[in-house]
Amino acid sequence: MQYVAAKTADEAVALLAGHSGMARVLAGGTDLLVQLKSGMVEPDLVVDIKRIPGMRDITPEAGGFRVGAAVSGAELGEHAGVCAMWPGVVEGFNLIGSTQVQGRATMAGNLCNASPAGDAVPSLVAAGATVRVQGPNGTRDVPILEIPAGPGRTTLAKGEIVTSIFLPGRPDRASDAYLRFIPRTEMDIAVASAGVSLVLGSDGTVESARVALGAVAPTILLAEEAAKVITGTRLDDETLARMATACEAICKPIDDKRGTVEFRTRTAGVLAKRAARIAYDRAGAKA
C-alpha cells in the first residue's frame, strides 16, 4: 500500500484517476482504518486529503456555510454559526461514535461510506445540502441525495472526490432536528432515524418542510409525502399521525437482529413526528 498526502485537490484527483488498482480516500479514517484492518478492503493507494488547503475550513457563503470535506465532528460542533443555523445537522453528525471518533470523523466520509444508517446523512438530505465534487472532468455540485447508490456504494466516478458540503442559508424562522433509535444510549448504529428541516411562515404554520429517513432502505429516503402532509399546519396531533403514516409507507427496511421490518418501519414514523416537533419548537423559539 502506498500513502500519499495530497497537497492540492488536483493532485488527489490525478492520483486517483490515474491509478489502476484499488484506491481509497482518507479523510478522518474512522471507517477506512477499520476496513483496512479487517481486510474488508485492500487498497494499494490511500490518498490523504486533510492537507489540501480549504478541506478543514468552515466558510460562510451565500448566507449559509461551506464545510470542507475533512472538517471533524468536534470542529463542526464548536462552530457557533453552524450550530445556530443547522442544529439538526450538527446533532446528527455528533451522534456518530465516541469523543475520540468525533475528533477525526467527517460528514463527507460518513456520506461516502454510504451506510444507510449513517447518522450525518438524513439531516443533510433534509437540509437540502449540496456536495461539491471534483474529478478529472472538473467540478460539479450535486444534491446530497444523489451521492449514495446503495450500501457501501456511491455515484462518484473514478477519480472524483468530495471537496466540501454546502449548507444553504435560510430565514430566521427555520430550524431542523435529528433523532435516531439505538438499543443503548451512546455509540451504536441507528436502527431507524429521521431528520426534519422546517421553515415557518409569519403566522406560525409550516411554510416548507423536508423530511429524511435513515436505516429503513438501501439509501437515505426523502419523504416527500410526509413533508407535504405537515406543510401549512401547526403540527397538531392528527397531522403528525398522518405524517407518520406517510413515512411508514415508503420504508423498505431489512429484517435483522437489530430490528424487524415492522419495528424499523413503525419507529421511523415515530421519530419523524418527534423530530418535526423539535424542529418546529426550535424554529418558533428563534422567531
Partner: protein, 158 residues
C-alpha cells in the same frame, strides 16, 4: 512495502521515525518508540484504550496512520506527569481506587485531561458521555467518575 519517514512532536519533543504506510500511530508509538502507555484493546476505535491527542484533539491512535503524524503535535500518557510529580488526575485515580487491572487507565486519563482542558467543571452527565468511548471492564465506572470529579475540583482550586 516502501517505508515513510515522519517528523513529528510527541509530548513536546521532536521525534523522527520510519513506518510502513499501513502502520497505525498506535503501533508506531508502542513498537517503534517504546511508548507503551497507549494500549491496544480492540484496534477498531471502540474501546479508547489507545487514546492520545493529535493537535489537541482526542483520538484513538489505532485509527490514525503513523504517516499522518507528520508535523503534528501528539500528546500521550507518558507526557502527563511532570517528572516524578503526578498529574492531579493520576493522583486522584490512585487515591480513589479508580483502576483495577489498569489496561484502560492511560486512555481514560488522557481522555479526562482533554475534557477538563475544554470544560473544567463538567456535570456528571457530560463527564459520562465524554468518556463513553473508554471502556473499562473492572471498575463499573463509578470510581473513575468520582476520581475525575475530585481532580477537576482540585484543578479548579489550584
Amino acid at each position: 512495502m516502501k517505508t515513510i519517514q515522519v517528523s513529528t512532536t510527541i509530548n513536546g519533543d521532536p521525534v523522527e521515525f520510519i513506518c510502513t504506510p499501513d502502520e497505525t500511530l498506535l503501533d508506531v508509538l508502542r513498537n517503534r518508540l517504546s511508548l507503551t502507555g497507549a494500549k491496544e484493546g480492540c484496534g477498531t476505535g471502540d474501546c479508547g484504550a489507545c487514546s492520545v491527542t493529535v493537535n489537541g484533539r482526542l483520538v484513538c491512535s489505532c485509527l490514525v496512520l503513523g504517516a499522518e503524524a507528520q508535523d503534528a503535535e501528539i500528546s500521550t500518557i507518558e507526557g502527563m506527569a511532570d517528572g516524578d510529580t503526578l498529574h492531579p488526575l493520576q493522583r486522584a485515580f490512585i487515591e480513589h481506587a479508580a483502576l483495577q487491572c489498569g489496561i484502560c487507565t492511560p486512555g481514560i486519563l488522557v481522555a479526562a485531561k482533554a475534557l477538563l482542558e475544554k470544560n473544567p467543571d463538567p456535570t456528571e452527565e457530560e463527564l459520562r458521555y465524554w468518556l463513553a468511548g473508554n471502556l473499562c471492564r473492572c471498575t463499573g465506572y463509578d470510581k473513575i467518575i468520582r476520581a475525575v470529579q475530585v481532580a477537576a475540583a482540585e484543578m479548579r482550586g489550584a
